[in-house]
């Protein structure tokens, strides 16, 4: 275990960025996914924000902050040359209507059948924070998840046979990028696409609740 160097949050984001080709239309959820755009510098990828922005650019400098221009996390952004702006119904038509080549979301848990839970810890939570995740999850052509492989406290698995948290959507995840591996959701379960150096198959399986398929 001590030989493994898990990826940090930037490392997971950079690993995802490697797999995004030029020309894709991509939505990045809050958390680790927002950093993916930092690592897509050498090619043209169109980033969407659910509040109606097509073509998010690099973060503004202090002097260049436009108070009218924010992303889904209400953080200040810039636009790329060639950007477009739409209203909220059209923005979610983009999310829901199959126009995004890719959405990258964080998650609490992903199940081997592609179920994702990322909005509530319990069905009885006093308040609910749904936002746009459910629309994005059902509508994007591809859904990839960026998350830690295990819980920080206790080390419990987050790649499950069945999600224990309330679902965001059923059967929608194609790929999971964690701090130690990249997994693909297949009809037979999680298939391993990539592992960090030094990680053994036994260790990866021991940290994953669902059975793994080796290619």
């Amino acid at each position: 275990m001590s030989d493994i160097r898990p990826l940090d949050r930037d490392g997971i984001a950079a690993r995802i960025a490697r797999d995004i080709p030029e020309g894709w239309f991509v939505n990045l959820g809050i958390g680790i996914p927002t950093k993916v755009s930092d690592f897509v510098q050498d090619r043209e990828v169109i980033f969407h924000a659910e509040n109606g922005v097509i073509g998010i650019g690099p973060a503004p400098s202090e002097e260049n902050i436009n108070p009218y221009l924010v992303n889904a996390g209400v953080q200040h952004i810039t636009l790329i040359t060639g950007a477009a702006l739409v209203h909220h119904a059209d923005s979610f038509a983009i999310a829901r209507g199959g126009h995004l080549d890719l959405c990258v979301l964080g998650a609490f848990e992903v199940a081997a059948n592609g179920d994702i839970a990322n909005w509530a810890h319990s069905a009885h939570e006093p308040t609910k924070q749904v936002g746009g995740a459910m629309d994005l999850a059902v509508g994007a052509k591809r859904l990839w998840v960026a998350m830690e492989h295990n819980n920080k406290r206790g080390g419990g698995p987050r790649l499950r046979t069945t999600c224990s948290y309330p679902l965001t959507a059923k059967g929608v995840v194609q790929r999971v990028y964690t701090d130690i591996a990249v997994l693909e959701v297949t009809p037979d379960g999680f298939a391993v696409l990539d592992m960090v150096p030094g990680l053994t198959r036994e260790t990866l399986q021991s940290r994953t609740e669902a059975p793994l398929i080796w290619r």
Binding site: Y68, H88, A89, T127
Partner: protein, 218 residues
């Protein structure tokens, strides 16, 4: 002569009744903060407020909720640590959480005269419990109804006397769709422009949806 401009905040929010359903636009930018303050001061009670989010501890949403005039909040998320979250926890505020895309589409449908629609969003989640679903094209879908409203509070960058509006950058968000969905659409605009100054192809919200415009310089 058609002239939608009103000379004061009091006149802008006059006539909003107790029990009204009020849409308030905004996603950070684009929030009609002055009109919301006017609504709080105007004193209408027992309101249903429809917004994207429940706000935090400060700001126009928190101030409006703190009046106790809002009975029911319809939005896509609420932070536990906020005025909204605490009012809900105490039982002083009813809460309906709607996925953000569904919220936008329910508002759009109301303005468009669409009486119901099916969406795959949330169909296989706990939000669908006890509600009508249908399998369409092989996907489980959830039946949703429009959110018809008495009043929409709108933020604009420019407005002319017909009520044609532009919205700046991402301040657009819910403004064009909420403007269509309410019986009375009330706008606060940063800039007043002459009729014809906004090119027809550059109008973001057509004046035909707008009833009152208040000039609130930035």
């Amino acid at each position: 002569m058609i002239d939608k401009f009103v000379p004061s905040l009091a006149l802008a929010v006059a006539g909003i009744q107790d029990g009204a359903t009020v849409l308030a636009a905004g996603f950070g930018p684009g929030t009609p903060a002055t009109l919301m303050r006017g609504l709080a001061e105007q004193g209408a009670r027992d309101l249903t407020l429809v917004m994207n989010a429940g706000g935090r501890d400060e700001g126009p949403i928190a101030d409006l909720l703190s009046t106790g005039h809002i009975r029911n909040l319809i939005c896509s998320f609420v932070r536990a640590d906020s005025v909204a979250g605490r009012l809900f926890a105490k039982g002083d505020l009813e809460l309906e959480i709607v996925p953000q895309g569904t919220l936008a589409e329910r508002i759009r449908a109301a303005g468009a005269g669409v009486q119901a629609f099916y969406t795959p969003t949330a169909a296989d989640t706990i939000l669908a419990e006890g509600r009508e679903t249908r399998t369409i094209n092989g996907r489980l879908c959830l039946l949703e109804y429009p959110i018809f409203a008495d009043v929409a509070l709108i933020d604009a960058w420019q407005a002319d006397r017909f009520g044609n509006l532009t919205h700046r950058d991402s301040a657009r968000n819910f403004n064009p769709i909420m403007a269509m969905a309410a019986k009375t659409t009330i706008v606060q605009t940063a800039h007043v422009v002459d009729l014809g100054a906004i090119q027809p192809e550059h109008v973001h919200t057509a004046g035909v949806f707008v009833q009152r415009v208040l000039h609130v310089p930035v």
